[in-house]
């Protein structure tokens, strides 16, 4: 590789190189055109539809319609439930990723496969299965019933919706944290221990700061699908706990695509804002902990 650079460039080679560049541009072109046409342009359409009425005249009505107490409450509930689900995912997922990264490499491979397995399973059916588990005459209540307790009402509560979110998106928290943990240099841990850190110190001063980037990408990967879901709230919330995703879906079904676009735009802005907050924190932490 180095040799070819040191050689004075031959004329013939220059030609093939130019051809190579042309080929590269030619090969990337379909993807770029596709991306612009079906990713960038549609997002512009969201903004256009959000600010127009059915005759495509400019209007603020769709956006203003969103700022009613009822809809703002739905927005607040979506943010709240998604945040709770994200925090629970960190609490469950972080130790899980830590323990997996400590297993020997072959076991790690198997465990990661097992974490990924439910992810590839249709999430509608998985969510539905939770309905069966949490029902009033469901599995948990019949087990509790054996020792004479219950039945507890679990289905159609906010708690059930959170369980569904945590269940569906937990792997998205475990995987990025795990991948950061496996990259952690074990010599750092040894050095910390040698320099007199106890186990707790090693955890809080070495392992956690180094795995924060994984936690941050995990937060994104859990929070975004949680805040935008509509199926989980329909099934496990019994349709009583409308989320922002339900709002979009119901407007779409009512053939009111301008309103659906407006709510989508609001959702997109909320997600962008939370990403900005998250980036701010992650920059800080990197500056603070990692030299």
């Amino acid at each position: 590789m180095n040799l070819s650079k040191e050689k004075p460039p031959l004329v013939k080679k220059k030609k093939t190189k130019k051809k190579g560049n042309l080929l590269a541009a030619f090969l990337a072109a379909p993807h770029i055109v596709w991306t612009v046409l079906f990713i960038v342009v549609p997002l512009i359409f969201v903004a256009v539809y959000a600010f127009t009425d059915r005759q495509m005249n400019f209007t603020f009505d769709n956006i203003l319609d969103f700022f009613t107490p009822e809809k703002l409450y739905i927005l607040w509930r979506s943010v709240k439930l998604a945040l709770i689900a994200t925090v629970i995912c960190i609490l469950i997922g972080y130790p899980a990723a830590y323990f997996i990264s400590k297993a020997n490499p072959r076991t790690q491979r198997l465990l990661i496969l097992l974490i990924m397995l439910p992810m590839w399973m249709n999430f509608l059916i998985r969510t539905y299965a939770w309905m069966v588990i949490l029902q009033n005459k469901g599995i948990i209540n019949s087990i509790i019933g054996l020792i004479g307790l219950g039945p507890f009402k679990m289905i159609n509560t906010e708690g059930a919706v959170i369980v569904g979110m945590v269940y569906d998106f937990l792997p998205y928290m475990i995987l990025p944290i795990y991948s950061v943990m496996t990259k952690l240099d074990t010599r750092l841990i040894e050095a910390a221990a040698d320099l007199g850190c106890n186990g707790f110190g090693v955890l809080t001063k070495v392992i956690i700061p180094h795995s924060l980037p994984g936690v941050f990408s995990g937060i994104t990967m859990v929070f975004v699908p949680s805040i935008s879901t509509f199926y989980i709230s329909q099934k496990l919330g019994g349709g009583k706990f409308f989320l922002i995703g339900d709002l979009i879906e119901s407007q779409y079904n009512a053939n009111n695509i301008h309103a659906a676009a407006a709510i989508s735009l609001v959702l997109m802005l909320i997600i962008l804002a939370s990403m900005a907050v998250l980036n701010h924190f992650s920059d800080d932490s990197e500056g603070g902990f990692i030299p």
């Binding site: 990337a28 993807h31 990713i39 549609p42 465990l111 935008s228 979009i248």
Partner: protein
């Protein structure tokens, strides 16, 4: 605290914790596999063991039709996104200008960051607008579904092939060119074999994502073309029989096989990579000694 502690495997706490997490992850799946063998109609009360719902599933033409549709769609979108994505990864890896590269990559990453519901809605708006403009009658159809599936699969293909181009020794294709290969020949004879594991991973991801997608399909589907996840959605809106569970069990086993396959491929690839590194290290050591 002993140094060795962190190198050791998990203690009892770790094992118990992981078992608990896996019970949580697999409980619903175990429940639905168990009830798929129910002889009764209930999805919550087990009456007896039977294969009745599997038989009914294979006699159900709507479900089989949806399965066929899903497979057609997945195969088509996988083919398109794998070819376009692999070509794009080649092009992107050779881009000279940094800002163009990062611009293309951030546009590529948008569907990964955006929630599915927004990807779905935005595509639907584009289709409705363009469809009314050129006067298509059913605006949403197989075509729009295919475009959507290619759109959300493309980033995954690009992202799994791109690192392979980066890992590859750049002098190899250069040598091929010097020895008289045309760029096309050098791609097929030198580069393609090197990146093939990445292409496979990308294709398998595209395929499974397409099979499993519900949200984006929900907003871009036509009434004439029903996929399995869409069918499952409409089934769970009514009363559910264990037939869905039988279907889920079959899907689960298929996915399991696919995952094992992709795992075997990537394990092989990794071993190859490690061997390569070992060889490099050996030659380096030799150089140092000299």
């Amino acid at each position: 605290m002993k140094n060795g502690k962190y190198r050791n495997r998990n203690g009892a706490v770790g094992i118990i914790y992981l078992v608990a997490v896996f019970i949580f992850l697999f409980a619903p799946i175990a429940v639905l596999i168990y009830f798929s063998f129910n002889s009764g109609k209930s999805t919550a009360v087990m009456e007896g063991f039977s294969l009745r719902w599997y038989e009914e599933l294979f006699r159900d033409e709507i479900t089989l039709g949806a399965l066929k549709n899903t497979l057609i769609l997945a195969v088509c979108s996988t083919l398109i996104s794998t070819v376009v994505g692999t070509a794009a990864a080649y092009g992107i890896s050779r881009m000279k200008k940094r800002y163009i590269k990062s611009l293309v990559m951030s546009a590529t990453n948008i569907p990964l960051m955006n929630p599915d519901i927004i990807t779905g809605i935005s595509l639907m708006l584009l289709f409705v607008f363009a469809g009314t403009l050129i006067g298509l009658d059913p605006i949403l159809s197989f075509r729009t579904l295919l475009i959507s599936h290619v759109t959300f699969s493309l980033p995954y293909v690009v992202l799994s092939v791109l690192p392979k181009f980066r890992q590859m020794d750049r002098s190899l294709p250069e040598a091929a060119l010097d020895l008289g290969c045309t760029p096309v020949q050098s791609f097929f004879k030198v580069e393609l074999p090197e990146i093939l594991p990445g292409v496979f991973t990308g294709a398998i991801m595209a395929f499974t994502l397409s099979l499993d997608d519900f949200v984006i399909s929900y907003f871009t589907k036509g009434s004439d073309f029903q996929t399995l996840p869409i069918l499952i959605y409409s089934m769970t809106k009514k009363t559910v029989t264990p037939k869905i569970y039988a279907l889920a069990t079959i899907i689960f086993i298929t996915i399991l096989l696919l995952l094992i396959l992709s795992n075997v491929i990537s394990a092989k690839d990794e071993r190859k990579h490690i061997n390569k590194l070992k060889k490099q290290r050996k030659t380096k050591k030799g150089e140092n000694l000299n």
